[in-house]
């Protein structure tokens, strides 16, 4: 999802769990109803006309677009879809990420719930629902509408589950609207004030910049680890930045559950790097007690030179024109470093779409949600569309321009990486718990890597 990295994580990565949780909005025919005699006449005329099956349909949709700006965009998109589909009604429910993952599976299991829903791609959500036939494959619509030309196969693979429960292969169960990446936000003014004219191009330059910033009394890294997700993103970004696109197969295999080991020199080095940063005082003092939202707020206000996090913060970061976005620099000699990222929760069609007409209408809805028009609407609002944007037709904020450049490069070079916690249902907790201990100096990088590998191997050995 756009605000989160839609991992298996229990808590929201970076948005308030306490904001809007449930709102139902009705559009379409119901919305268009007029009061008074005119509406009665219209209704009489309407009822007298023979209805086609499509005209009588209601689409119940669940999504996680609960932030005000997101709600505004999805509302407009729904209205546009309805304008093109007279007589169709949309009953939309917007739920926070936590509420959505808590309720979707259980609701579908009871035979109730939406016809269309956003769903998390991990084993716990999409994998489990695909296995129970609660979701319908959308391959027919991929072929019909050409979604495979809008989004790379690497992105679509994140919605694939085989009948045997294998991730990344088999039928495709959804498609996403938005893309996500974890990268390096930097404040150009803070860097310049410290005598640094350009952002770091390599990890070695980053180390030099950190030393310079510390000497000037500037906080190098703004970070808050109270909820664990920022440290996970930092570790993942540093780790994957040292893997070139040409060497990505082993990492793909790990995340897609094909096997392998987390106990690699790359991961140990990345763990050591973040531990050294923490021990060296390169993080904001008191970082353990603040959450990501606080860290972002401080960064936007001009505190700190760097912040490693995702594109879901682009909107907030736009508040400070000195802030820019780039990929986390890789080690020298690494070509096309992997960029942690993926797509937001996928639009899926549930088993509640009983008949072909409803399924096709749902397919049309999904097609509209990944259309150029929808992508333009999201980009205009500052969000990163998963589909390639026709940049010449859309005016995007400057910071989104930075992110789009990284996104396009990553897609072209096949260097879009993964959220490592997708690798097992418990990996998010294992990683965040152990990262807290690692940063506090309570375990060695080797022990940290061994702990996450143990989690993974236990998952691989368990019956699927």
């Amino acid at each position: 999802m756009a605000q989160d990295h839609k991992s298996n994580q229990p808590g929201k990565a970076n948005k308030g769990e306490y904001e809007v949780t449930d709102m139902t909005m009705k559009f379409g025919f119901q919305r268009a109803k007029k009061r008074g005699a005119g509406s009665l006449m219209a209704a009489a005329l309407f009822l007298a006309l023979p209805l086609s099956p499509a005209l009588a349909q209601t689409l119940t949709t669940w999504d996680d677009y609960t932030a005000p700006l997101q709600t505004e965009v999805i509302t407009k998109l729904n209205e546009k879809f309805l304008a093109d589909h007279p007589g169709v009604t949309i009953e939309r429910t917007g739920r926070s990420y936590d509420d959505l993952i808590l309720t979707l599976k259980l609701t579908l299991a009871s035979g109730e719930g939406p016809i269309i829903s956003k769903a998390n791609q991990g084993a716990q959500e999409m994998g489990a629902m695909a296995k129970q036939k609660q979701l319908l494959p959308v391959d027919e619509y991929i072929a019909k509408y050409g979604w495979d030309k809008l989004q790379s196969d690497g992105l679509l693979a994140r919605d694939r589950w085989s009948d045997k429960g294998e991730f990344g292969v088999g039928a495709t169960y959804g498609i996403s609207t938005l893309g996500e990446m974890v990268g390096l936000y930097y404040n150009a003014k803070v860097l310049k004030d410290a005598g640094i004219d350009n952002p770091p191009a390599t990890l070695e330059e980053l180390a030099q910049d950190i030393a310079t910033l510390k000497a000037k009394g500037t906080v190098p890294f703004m970070i808050g680890t109270a909820k664990g997700n920022m440290s996970l993103h930092m570790f993942a970004a540093v780790s994957q930045a040292t893997i070139g696109a040409a060497d990505r197969q082993a990492y793909d295999d790990l995340v897609y559950g094909h096997g392998g080991s987390w106990n690699t020199a790359t991961n140990v080095a990345a763990a050591k790097q973040v531990q050294d940063w923490a021990a060296g005082g390169d993080f904001l003092d008191g970082y353990q007690g603040i959450a990501e939202d606080d860290a972002v707020q401080l960064f936007v206000s001009g505190k700190g030179a760097f912040l490693i996090s995702g594109t879901w913060h682009l909107g907030e970061m736009t508040g400070n024109p000195d802030i820019h976005f780039m990929g986390v620099p890789g080690g020298s000699g690494v070509k096309d470093s992997l960029v942690v990222g993926g797509v937001d929760l996928a639009w899926t069609i549930t088993a509640n779409a009983k008949d072909k007409a409803t399924q096709d209408l749902a397919g049309e809805y999904l097609n509209y949600m990944v259309s150029d028009e929808a992508a333009a609407a999201w980009a205009t609002a500052g969000y990163l569309p998963a589909a390639a944007l026709k940049a010449d037709t859309v005016k995007v904020p400057a910071l989104l321009g930075d992110a789009l450049a990284v996104w396009n490069t990553a897609n072209a070079a096949n260097s879009l990486g993964h959220y490592p916690d997708w690798a097992s249902p418990t990996m998010y907790k294992t990683m965040t718990d152990n990262l807290a201990i690692l940063l506090a100096g309570g375990e060695t990088p080797e022990a940290f890597v061994a702990a996450i590998d143990q989690d993974y191997q236990a998952y691989m050995a368990a019956p699927k």
């Binding site: 229990p10 609660q134 109270a226 664990g228 003092d285 008191g286 007690g289 718990d433």
Partner: protein, 292 residues
């Protein structure tokens, strides 16, 4: 009108009984049954006998949650009881107007939902924006300005202190009511006999308040074993499970990892603990009737 036979009277309690059965008894029974199954929330539960319980008693995370729950008992039970008792005795001896004002002030936190208090205290403890650390820095004690809820050593006590603050007013109110129940002639006789304040408290006040102490113990012990909302809103069990408690572990297992059978086993063990501890309290402390 009451009937002579039980079934005739059943209709009077039937509406309440139906609601109680639907929302209390059936879920309890469902939890007990689910504790013997492996169930991911969808599909049919698979019967596994006592496997969940066997796994539970070799689960280090479960024992960590129990240990943290035990530590929190100090903050949920012992401290509120002692401070509440001291406050009740102290406040009872001041003028009525001041007594009422202080009683209201100390009791006020108990009126608030504890989840809301958790959110407020999370902000108070915030190491950057929170007033606690700002005050510490302002008075030159910046070295004590810790990342409270992110600190491995202080996170659990920091959560616990909020529980103490929450429950002490409640304990105080119960004890103040108890003090009003004690026959004033006992205190007069003690004064005439030249008993000191400490002796009066030791031999009159404390024994007379045993029924109230018993009530307070029962309620706060249950609250400590049930503790969830403060931890959930303040730390979600972090950092690295340092504030994980049994109920939060149950939530994580059930609603985050979809291990509903295992989570139900945790719930059943928690319920058994509450029954056992309350049974001990019942046996050790006299009932109202015993004391009378």
């Amino acid at each position: 009108m009451l009937h002579t036979n039980t079934f005739g009277n059943l209709k009077y309690v039937l509406p309440a009984l139906l609601v109680y059965t639907a929302f209390v008894l059936l879920p309890i029974m469902a939890s007990i049954v689910l504790g013997f199954t492996e169930w991911g929330g969808i599909g049919m539960p698979k019967f596994v006998g006592f496997a969940n319980y066997v796994a539970l008693f070799s689960d280090p995370m479960f024992f960590k949650a129990l240990r943290n729950t035990a530590v929190l008992m100090v903050f949920y039970v012992a401290l509120p009881l002692c401070i509440g008792l001291a406050l009740a005795v102290a406040i009872s001896n001041i003028r009525p107007g001041e007594r009422m004002a202080l009683r209201m002030l100390y009791f006020m936190p108990y009126v608030m939902p504890s989840a809301v208090l958790g959110i407020i205290w999370r902000w108070l403890y915030n190491p950057i924006f929170g007033p606690l650390n700002q005050v510490l820095r302002a008075v030159g004690l910046g070295a004590l300005a810790l990342p409270w809820l992110g600190d491995f050593n202080f996170a659990l006590p920091a959560v616990g202190m909020v529980a103490t603050w929450y429950y002490l007013g409640f304990c105080m109110a119960i004890f103040m009511a108890g003090l009003q129940r004690i026959d004033a002639s006992l205190f007069e006789a003690a004064a005439l006999e030249g008993a000191s304040g400490r002796q009066t408290f030791r031999y009159i006040t404390l024994p007379s308040l045993l029924p109230e102490i018993r009530i307070v113990l029962l309620l706060t012990v249950i609250a400590s074993i049930k503790s969830y909302d403060l931890v959930f809103t303040m730390t979600r069990g972090g950092p690295a499970n340092e504030t994980l408690v049994a109920n939060l572990y149950m939530y994580q297992l059930g609603f985050e990892l979809n291990r509903y059978g295992y989570a139900s086993a945790v719930a059943v063990i928690g319920a058994i603990f509450i029954l056992v501890v309350n049974g001990i309290v019942h046996r050790v402390l006299p009932t109202d009737g015993d004391n009378a």
